[in-house]
Every structure is written in C-alpha cells, then in structure tokens.
Subunit: 411 residues, 2 copies
C-alpha cells in the first residue's frame, strides 16, 4: 500500500483523537455504550438533533398542528429546503437538489429522463459489479421503454459509453470495494460522445468531498441513511444541474413535481429545476429526521471531514495488511470512499465474532467484510480497537466450529 | 335527499354519541383542545399509539439498535406485516398487500404492470375528474411506454373500458364528490372486454367497508395518511390479487422486491405475491407510525365504522340542505365515501372562517368545501356544532370584506 503515516499503537491513535478538530462532533450522536460502530456505510448513527426533530414533527407538528402544518410547519418546503442543505455537501447549487423517494425509484426516474438527452443511441449501460438495485432498475426500465440494455464488465462502463454513447448509471464509490470513480473523466467522455452519466452517490455523499459542479456532473441521486445519518429508509435525493433541468422530465409525473400542485389542473406543468423530479406526497416524518441530522453537517467542511476519513481508512488498511488480509479497496485514500473492504472466505463468521466483541462491521456475499468510517463519530482509537479484535479473531478462530457457517446477513 | 333519520338538535346528536359503540375509540387519539377536526380525508389525526411507536422506532430501534434492528426489530418484515394488517380493512388476503412508496409511484408501477394483462388494446384510460396526480402519472407513463392515453369524460371510464379494453385507473371514492364507484360493475366490464382496472383507494380505505375480493378487484393502491391516520406522507400500499401476482412485474424492479435482496445476484427474480411491488429501502420511521396507527383498526369491524360514517355524513348533508347549499355528494350513504362536499363560490373564505371558529374543513379549487368524518374520532355533536358555525358564517358573512379573497389552499 501507499506509504502513509498511521499510528502504531493505541496511544498513538488516542493522540490523534486528542488533536482531531472534528472530535467534538461525536457528542452530537447517540452511540450505545461501548459499541464500536463501523457500519455507518449501511445505516448511519442517530444524532440527538435528529431524534429531537422527529419527536417534534410527530407530536407538535402532526398531532398538534394537523393539516395546518403543511404551511405552518413548512412541510411543503421541506423537500426543497433539505435538498438545498444537502447540496453544499456534494458541490451542487442549492436549488439543484430535491429530496424525494428512494434511490431505486430515483435511478428509474433519472435514467428514463436521460434517454432523450443521450444523442444517437438509446442504450442503458450498467456495470456488472454495480450495486444490484441499480442493475435491476436499469434492466427493468429497458424492458418498459424498449431500450437496449447493456451490462458492462466491471470497470468498463466508461469504455462502453465512449464507444456507443447512451446512458450509464454508475456509483461514485463502489459499494463493495470503495473505489472512487473518476467522475470528471466519465463526464468528459459523456460530453464527447453525446452520452449521459447518472451518478449514484449513496456510498459517497456525506463522507468524501464530492464536487458535482466541478466534475461536470449533470444528473445524480443518492441515499441519506448511510453517511448522512438520516435514519432507516430516509428519503433519497435527486440532483439535476440547472442548465439541464428544463430539458428533462420525470417519467413519474406526480403532483408534487407539478408547478402548481394544488391548482388541480388536468394538464401537467413541471416545476422549475430539480424540484420537477418530486413525485408523491413526501414522507414528512422520515424527512424530518433527515433535516435534523443535517444540523451537524451544517457546521462542517467536507474536505476536512474527508481527510480524516481517509486517515481512518489508512489505519484500518495498514492493520489488515499486517494480518495478511487482502483488500480490493484502493490503497490511496484519495481514490476511496469511506469504507474499507477485506476479503475472507469466512467473512460472515468473522463479522459475527466481531459483533460478539462489540464491533459492528458488515458482510456482503460471498466474501467481503466492510468497515465503514464516519469522520463525525468514528475515533482513531475505535479503529485501533476494532483491528485488535479482528486480529484476535483471525488468529484464534476455529472455522469449523458450530455457528461459524457462511451465510448472508440482512442489511 | 333520501329520507334518513338524523338528529334535529345538539341534544339529539349528543344522545347518538352516548349510544355509539365506537365512541370509546376517540380516547386513542391526540386531538388538540376544542378543535373540531373534519379534515381526516386529507390528513388523519394522530393516535397516542402511533406517536409512541415512532418514538420507540427512533430512539430504541434506530439510535439504540442501529443496523441490527433490520432483524432484531423486524424492520425487514414491516412492509409485509403492515400490509397484512391493512388487508383486512379492504377485504384482501393478508399476503396480497405490501406497504411501499407513494400513491403516485404505485399507480405508475401498477399501470405499467397491467399493460401486458390487458388483452387486445394498449391504452391507458383515466377520467377527467380523477385526482390530478393519477391523471399526470398515467399520461407520463403513456409517453414513456409508447401507449395510447385517453382522458375520458367524468364518469365515462367504464364505458370507455367496455368499448376498447385497456387499463383504467379509477378512484373507488372520488376525491371531490365522495361518489363511490360501482367496483363490481367495473370489474365485470373488465372481465368481459379483457381490460384491467387499477383502483385508487386513497379516499376509501379506513372509512368505508371495501371488499376487494368480493368485487373482483385485481390491482389497487391507496395512501395511508388520510383515514388510516398513518401520519403526514406515510407510505402507500399496493394490493395484487393472488392469482394475478405471478403474471405481473413491477417496472421499478428495486432490490426490496427481489426474492433474495441480500444475495446480490445480478439477475432479477421477483418476490412472490404483492411483495414483488416493493422497490427501494422502506421509510422505516414513517412506516412505524403507520404500524402504530393500525392498532386502533385492529379492534374494529369496518362495516360498523362505515355505518357510523354514513350517519355522520347524513347529518352534515341534512343541515347543508336546510341552508340551501348544493352538494355533488350522493345523498344515499351507501353510495358515498367518508366526506361530504358542498359547493360555494366563496368556498375558500368559508373554510377560512370555519378555521377561525375552530372547525377544520378543506377547500378544493374552484368551489368545493369538504367535510371529512372518521368513525373513530368524529362525534355527532362535532358535526352538529360545525354545521352551526357554517350556518352562522353563510348567513352573516360579507363576501366583499378584506381577507375573504378566493384562493387556493395548500393540501
């Protein structure tokens, strides 16, 4: 791996925590007891602010304010306002982001909307190691819209796009390896060939310093329940660059994307900008938790947070390397997202043993263990201790013992 | 109007409340002060159980249980389990209902899925007085899937279906007039012509005694934030009759509709039954509020609740008739949903004046005032008092006074 400076002892890790300018943010989170939670890439931890916000939304706004809260509590503007706050974290203009639906539904909407933008070729491309739901969604859309579907080999979506144009759905950070895509290169290729890239930012937003505008991204979506700590199944978002918005239409033309949803016109007239991609009535309670979670992010600079996340990952990788555990994650921090993946035939059993020792990681079939780091609440000493447990387990485990069966975990 | 027995005084209304076997359920609801809330057809009131459930989901399950709650707290089964409880209220088998997405997204999914079922003709039909989002969605789908779109005159969807087949999207209860569709007649026509009806139950479920199985319904969706009291923007649901499920596929093939979502297979294999219409990660916090709200419904028989709702509506209609206010709502209770609509050029001003007097109704442009009744928390005396206020307003109002301007209200 690249030569980076990492602590070589628990004391060294603690010293980094003492010097960490982000360390105080950890107090904003509800973290159960001594648990070392390294699964924020799957479900982020709760902030006290998010818990307070959902409590207020349920009791004061819904139960107390009833229908009047659409105006009085600002529910009607919440998808836009929350999107605007989120925009800063991904390098977008405030009005270019709207919170709505799930990533699955949003990939569908964006891929369908992008088809008329893609000159020359009606083909939908997705790589074979892409997060499964993105593959399923794109293939399902191709059947409905009668568009060619192409599943490209891993890492070859860019080449496929260059060769034939069309619409490529691509994760900014791979869910398994944590490899960061060269977003600017993809966008240059798209510009050259008349194609379109739709970015899935699920494993990237809130943990690395994305700059959608600078890299030329036009369309993106992502979830908010991972590094953005919006809560289980928190609504996703859609980014549409300002100059593209007028040229795209959501195929799911719901009333919340209508310019005048309460005029009850028969004819559809989409809202301006990204807001035209809203569909049905937003899930106000879940959305309120997300709005509360963003309070912590309002205080931080993503570049500084990303720097710390890379250092946490470097420490994890160095310890795994010392144990001889292979990792498909990029050794250079700038080329990674917020998690580190290691491969082991007994990955599921290891993750179970780690959980029994108070370290929460996760497993992805068939052999991937993932450790996720959030600059907002993960400490260097947490990573050190987690790696101590990992070392103990891999050096002492009896893989044939009962209960150490390989199987899929839910999440 | 039809000759029905309604109370003729406040004391008479109170006597009915005393004799009401459902009266005790009102204590399950958080109802602010002396407010008379007749807007449950737009946003249902909160139950103490729903508020407790979302509090528990946020604090104990999310903040405390973190990722483990997908299994330990049963989040993974919540869309199915909640759908199964809801199924009884609409006359469906438990496994034929799944909670997912919004009505807008679900109408899209069902209408697309129904196209291959509709023999002979690829046409999507919707009536011109249908709830606007249903019209927008169907028109948007027709463009994407290259299917003919037909906007039928009000009330003529059935004739259009008989004549040409295709897929008709139709509300069981009209959002404006509260007229109940003859669901069995529609289904007979669909069976005869090889067409398909997709029912929007948004203004019907939780307030009248629907029996989807008995009337031959095959596909339906509806929202849960009105009479089902699931909370603002609570997730919607999809009903797919068992014998049809294997023949239909959701066009939005998200991972939560996959038979093995955590196997991360590249190939899509849909779940059995209605569950195949799930798409992305469910909004657990919003869904938990809905699950809590259904506790009250678990105790009741919908036929009894519907009988009371009709009686509340009869009282409202009788008072409005005495005031000379025209209503497009059916006079016969069995032909209505849970709300009563009256028409007035100054409808918006009247609704504002009612609110100032502590009576919450709503307004739909250009001239419709809606009063909604829930058998679970609306009392006969509430209707009587609301009508007293309405009488005072229409008899004394000066329509040209400042602040009495016509305009659209949000919701």
């Amino acid at each position: 791996m690249a030569s980076v400076s990492v602590p070589t002892s628990l004391d060294g890790a603690k010293a980094l925590d003492c010097a960490d300018s982000l360390a105080a943010l950890r107090a904003a989170f509800h973290l159960p007891g001594d648990l070392i939670y390294l699964d924020g890439h799957s479900l982020g931890a709760a902030t006290h602010g998010a818990l307070a916000r959902i409590d207020d939304a349920a009791k004061r706004e819904w139960a107390g304010g009833l229908i009047g809260s659409w105006n009085d509590a600002g529910w009607i503007d919440l998808p836009n306002q929350t999107g605007a706050r989120l925009a800063r974290l991904i390098g977008a203009a405030p009005e270019d982001v709207i919170v709505c639906d799930s990533v699955s539904v949003n990939v569908f909407k964006l891929a369908a909307a992008a088809l008329p933008l893609a000159k020359n070729t009606r083909v939908l491309i997705v790589e074979e190691d892409e997060f499964p739901t993105d593959q399923y969604i794109v293939e399902g859309l191709s059947a409905l819209a009668d568009v060619k579907f192409m599943r490209a080999p891993a890492g070859e979506g860019l080449a496929a796009l260059r060769e034939r144009g069309g619409v490529l759905v691509k994760s900014a950070v791979n869910y398994r390896t944590a490899a960061l895509a060269d977003m600017a290169a993809h966008e240059r290729a798209a510009a050259d060939c008349g194609g379109v890239v739709i970015w899935d930012l699920s494993h990237a937003a809130g943990v690395i310093d994305l700059d959608l505008n600078a890299c030329g991204a036009r369309l993106a979506t992502g979830c908010t329940y991972k590094y953005l700590n919006g809560g289980p199944g928190a609504p996703a978002y859609i980014y549409v660059r300002d100059d593209v918005a007028a040229s795209v239409r959501s195929p799911i033309a719901g009333w919340f994307g209508h310019a005048a949803p309460f005029a009850f016109d028969a004819a559809y007239a989409p809202k301006e900008k990204a807001a035209r991609f809203a569909a049905g009535t937003p899930p106000v309670l879940s959305l309120s938790a997300l709005a509360g979670a963003l309070d912590v992010f309002d205080q931080i600079d993503m570049a500084g947070a990303a720097k710390k996340t890379r250092a946490l990952g470097d420490l994890c990788l160095a310890r795994c390397e010392a144990l001889g555990l292979p990792s498909p994650s990029p050794a250079i921090g700038e080329m990674r997202g917020g998690h580190i993946c290691i491969l082991h035939d007994n990955g599921y059993a290891i993750v179970q043993a780690l959980a029994a020792a108070g370290v929460i990681a996760d497993f992805r079939a068939p052999d991937a263990i993932r450790f996720g780091f959030s600059a907002l609440y993960t400490r260097y000493q947490d990573v050190w201790r987690a790696m101590d447990e990992l070392e103990r387990i891999v050096k002492t485990a009896s893989w044939d013992a009962p209960g150490f069966k390989k199987k899929n975990a839910v999440t």
